[in-house]
Structure formats: structure tokens, C-alpha cells
């Protein structure tokens, strides 16, 4: 669409502002994490690594971090297995029941977090699952499931099922066909589902806040209670670490993807 130079300039400026608004606020945790004083007031004073040390040595922080890693890893595996199976099932069903079931399985995405949280909390109180690993994994898995389902379904939609027929007609058994033809072709979907499931669980806060107890806290719960309790710059240090980890993961993923694409060309 053609534009007058002035319109183009304004459009560019507005988008620049939006981009800054999207990215810059998060970066503010980086300078705050090196603050010498125990405060979150801006601008930070001096320079010190003490909050990073605190994160590594203070058991409150390090345990919650390890808890989050444990829960998220289990959730990633469980949600990916369940989600992939379900995606296959839906793909091979008649359209009408498949659409209905798919809508049902995507409901965790739209149910307001707090409503789900009090429901799960009520049930967990009866089942004595509050503050347990099982409780966290089950709740997070159901929240991560839709992301796996979407990722794998998208891949199955473009998957040519005649390839399976071809493999079978050449004498491959059912499992061999799945292992050598189907799985490699839908692997990108499964992997991105795995990553999404991990991230969903690692970041989940609302339900976690309700089903947590002093014995089992995840990192977001610890961050939340730290923010509401006092101005401890350790949260900024944690934020910086998470920011770096995410950027490396996404950047690495993009580089890998780019190289693969180039290699194929």
C-alpha cells in the first residue's frame, strides 16, 4: 500500500514506540539486580553481585528454583505424551466429534485463572494434594496440554498420510512406519509442544499460588511473595537470569532453524 512520506514517518515512529514499550520495561530488572542497597528504588546505587549470591545460596530461592525445574520437566514430558496422543486421535476422527473434543481440550486456555485455581484448590484440599509434587504436575499438565495439542495438530495437518501407506506397502510394520516416517516428520511440532509445555509450567503462577504450601514453592510463587513482602533486589537478579536464559533459548532456536532451512536449500 502506498503512503505519503509523512504518513510513513508517523507509522515508523509509532511502531518504534510500541516496540520499545514491548521490550524495554522488562530490561529494567538488569540494572536493578546489581544494586548495592536493599531497595528497588530507581536509579540503583553502586554495584554488587550480592543478590546473585543470595539467589544461589539462600535455600528459599535455590529450592524454589529446583522445584520449578523438577515440576516443569515432568509436566513437559507428561503433557507432550498426552497431547501428542490426543492430537493423533483427533486427526484420525470424523470432523464433528473431533471439533467438539478439540474445543473441550482447549478450555483450560480460556477458563479464568482464579476460577480454576479455587476449584483445583477445593479438590486438592479434599484429596490432600496441596503442596505436593503430584498436585503441581497434574494442574500444570492440564494447563500445558492445549499448547502441545495446537503445536502437534498444526504439524499433522500438513502431514501427508500417503507416506504411511507407502511405507506400509513397501513392507514396513506398523511400528517401523511410525518410527521411521511419521515421527521424524512431526517431530518439530512435538518439540515445540514440549518447549511450550515446559515454559507454561515454569511460568505458571495463579494456580500455583493456591496449591502451594511452605514445603513446596515454585519459583514464580517465591518471586510473587518476595515482591509483596519487601523490596528485595534478589527478584531482579532472578528476573535477569530468566531473561538471559529465555533470550539464549529463543536465539539459539532461531539460529538452528535458520541453519536447517539454509541447509535444505
Amino acid at each position: 500500500m502506498e503512503m505519503k512520506p509523512l504518513t510513513r514517518l508517523i507509522l515508523g515512529l509509532v511502531c518504534l514506540l510500541v516496540a520499545i514499550w514491548l521490550v524495554a520495561p522488562t530490561l529494567v530488572v538488569v540494572p536493578m539486580s546489581f544494586n548495592e542497597n536493599k531497595s528497588l528504588a530507581f536509579p540503583p546505587q553502586g554495584f554488587s553481585w550480592q543478590w546473585y549470591q543470595n539467589f544461589a545460596t539462600n535455600p528459599e530461592w535455590s529450592t524454589s528454583f529446583l522445584n520449578s525445574l523438577k515440576v516443569a520437566s515432568l509436566v513437559a514430558v507428561l503433557a507432550t505424551v498426552l497431547g501428542t496422543l490426543a492430537a493423533f486421535g483427533l486427526d484420525r476422527m470424523k470432523a464433528r466429534p473431533a471439533n467438539l473434543l478439540r474445543m473441550l481440550m482447549l478450555t483450560p486456555m480460556v477458563v479464568p485463572g482464579v476460577v480454576l485455581a479455587i476449584g483445583i484448590y477445593a479438590v486438592y484440599l479434599d484429596a490432600q494434594l496441596v503442596g505436593t509434587l503430584t498436585g503441581f504436575v497434574l494442574a500444570h499438565t492440564i494447563l500445558a496440554l492445549p499448547f502441545v495439542l495446537i503445536a502437534v495438530s498444526a504439524n499433522l495437518e500438513v502431514f501427508d498420510r500417503r507416506l504411511e501407506t507407502a511405507a506400509a506397502s513397501l513392507g514396513a510394520g506398523a511400528l517401523t512406519t511410525f518410527r521411521t516416517v511419521t515421527l521424524p516428520l512431526i517431530l518439530p511440532g512435538i518439540l515445540s509442544g514440549l518447549l511450550f509445555a515446559f515454559a507454561t509450567s515454569f511460568d505458571e503462577i495463579v494456580v500455583s499460588l493456591f496449591i502451594t504450601n511452605p514445603y513446596l514453592k515454585t519459583l514464580p510463587v517465591q518471586i510473587f511473595s518476595s515482591i509483596t513482602r519487601d523490596a528485595d533486589p534478589t527478584v531482579a537478579a532472578v528476573g535477569t537470569i530468566l531473561l538471559c536464559a529465555t533470550t539464549i533459548l529463543i536465539g539459539g532456536g532461531m539460529l538452528l532453524l535458520g541453519r536447517e532451512r539454509k541447509g535444505r536449500l
Binding site: V18, V23, V28, V123, S169, A174, A199
Partner: protein
């Protein structure tokens, strides 16, 4: 898994295998029923049965002006967030379609990176930025605007929520705009329409499905927001989610908290149902093309 199916199933065989896709979805459905279905049912039942059976909790909710104020505020804040998101996302998504691949990659990264950064950390950044001794207030003070309060106000909540939700607006909008045939705009121009006229009569209507889709997602997610209002808001910007939490965790009023939760849930699903025909017609159009 259908690799397990015979290649060309005869009719009786097909009938024998027909249950298999359902079996594959069974584990996920089972988990869905126990971890989502049963808890939601529990909440509905408690809202109707505690302390006694009846509609008392709903009567209480719709009878107390405080609750109605919060309900109205929840909708107002969500509406503002949606408006801010639409206004910011529209030019941004358009630019994404208009630039070369390299700039587009940067623009996409700017959307995706905050999407991936932990939501709690992003809210923490807003607490640092908006607090009374924060960056934005120091800037405003040096520009001569003293005593502007941002944290614990509705403005602060809207700013924080809109930033968190903006990617949900940009991405669907971009996917619709990407599919718009720009030759239609050229055709309008060649028939004598000024650029603004061509935009308003051709491009804008074609991009509206994306606006609807994004706006519905943003509005629904905003209705149920809990963390950002809890950290950025004050008593005068309480949203429904916080009220639910207070009733259940602090006051142990499961019936009242449950009733509020059900109201929130019903509002969400009514909105989704209203949006469904719009989205479906968009799919059909895409299919026709």
C-alpha cells in the same frame, strides 16, 4: 499411531478400528475431567450450597453495591486494555506486513521475547517503573509534572496489562493482514480513490476479522487477570479475580467466592459464544479464497 492400522481396511476391519482414535484421546480427556471438570463442578455446587442450598450467594453478589462496582470496573479496565491493544497493535501488525524480511524478524522478536519472559518478572518490571520513586515518575518530575500517581491506580494497571496482552492482539492481526490482497487497494486507487479513502473502504474492512479475533482474546484474558492488578493495583483498582481470592483464602467464604467465580466464568463463555460466529465466518471466507 494410525500406522498401526492396516493399509486398506476392509469394511468390518474399519469398524473394528474405529474406536482407536477415541482411545488415543482418552488419557487427555480423563485428566481434563478430573483436573478441570470436577473442580469447576465443585465450585458451582459450593456457590449453590454453602452455607445452605439456594441462590443466596448470587443474591448477595448482585445485591451489594461494592461487588457491582468491582464487576463494572473489571469490565471497564478490560475494555480500556482492549482499546489500547487495538490502537497499538494495528499499525505495528501492518508494518510487519509492509517491511522486508530482516526488519520483520526484528519486529517479530520484539513481540515474541516479552511473550516468553516470565509474566511475574514483567509485572515486577512495571512495579519498579511505575512506583512513586520509579523511572517514569522521575522523568515526569523533571518535566515539571509533580506528584503523578501511577502505581495503585487504574492507569497503572491498564498500562501493565496492555503490555502483557499486546502480543495476543498483534499475532492474530498480523496473520489476517498477511492474507489481504494488496492489489485490491491498488484497484481502488486506480479507480480514483485517495489513499485514505482506499484504506478506509478497502483495507480496514478486510482487516477487521483480525481485530475482532484479537480483541476477543485480549478482553477475555483481561477479565480473568489476577497477578498484574494484584501487584500494580490498589484498593481502588481491585478486579473480580482479587475479590474471589479474598473471599476464598482470607474469609473462607467458599460459597460467595464460588458465586463470583461462576459469574466470571459465565461472562467469559458468553463472550466466547458471541465471538464464535464471527470467527467461523472468517474461516469460511479463508476457505473460499
Amino acid at each position: 499411531m494410525s500406522a498401526l492400522e492396516p493399509t486398506t481396511p476392509s469394511a468390518p476391519q474399519r469398524a473394528r478400528w474405529a474406536w482407536r482414535p477415541y482411545a488415543l484421546t482418552l488419557p487427555a480427556l480423563l485428566l481434563l475431567v478430573t483436573v478441570i471438570g470436577y473442580p469447576l463442578l465443585t465450585i458451582v455446587l459450593r456457590s449453590l450450597s454453602e452455607p445452605q442450598w439456594g441462590l443466596q450467594n448470587y443474591a448477595w453478589f448482585f445485591g451489594a453495591p461494592v461487588n457491582l462496582t468491582v464487576l463494572q470496573r473489571t469490565f471497564t479496565i478490560s475494555a480500556w486494555v482492549t482499546v489500547v491493544c487495538v490502537l497499538c497493535a494495528y499499525p505495528y501488525a501492518y508494518l510487519m506486513t509492509a517491511v522486508g524480511p530482516r526488519v520483520r524478524l526484528i519486529l517479530v522478536l520484539c513481540v515474541l521475547i516479552p511473550f516468553w519472559v516470565s509474566g511475574v518478572v514483567r509485572t515486577l518490571s512495571w512495579v519498579i517503573l511505575l512506583q512513586d520513586s520509579g523511572v517514569i515518575n522521575s522523568l515526569l518530575r523533571s518535566a515539571g509534572f509533580d506528584g503523578v500517581r501511577l502505581i495503585r491506580t487504574q492507569t497503572g494497571v491498564v498500562i501493565g496489562m496492555a503490555q502483557v496482552l499486546l502480543p495476543f492482539m498483534i499475532l492474530p492481526l498480523y496473520s489476517v493482514m498477511k492474507g489481504i490482497d494488496l492489489r485490491l487497494v491498488q484497484a481502488a486507487r486506480s479507480l480514483g480513490a485517495r489513499p485514505s479513502r482506499a484504506f478506509f473502504t478497502v483495507y480496514l474492512p478486510l482487516s477487521l476479522p483480525g481485530v475482532y479475533a484479537g480483541a476477543i482474546i485480549v478482553f477475555i484474558l483481561a477479565l480473568g487477570f489476577y497477578i498484574t492488578p494484584a501487584l500494580l493495583g490498589g484498593p481502588r483498582s481491585t478486579m473480580l479475580s482479587t475479590l474471589v481470592q479474598t473471599q476464598v483464602l482470607s474469609l473462607l467464604q467458599w460459597g460467595r467466592g464460588g458465586a463470583m467465580g461462576v459469574v466470571l466464568l459465565v461472562a467469559t463463555f458468553v463472550l466466547l459464544a458471541l465471538a464464535a460466529p464471527v470467527m467461523r465466518s472468517r474461516h469460511r471466507e479463508a476457505g473460499r479464497r
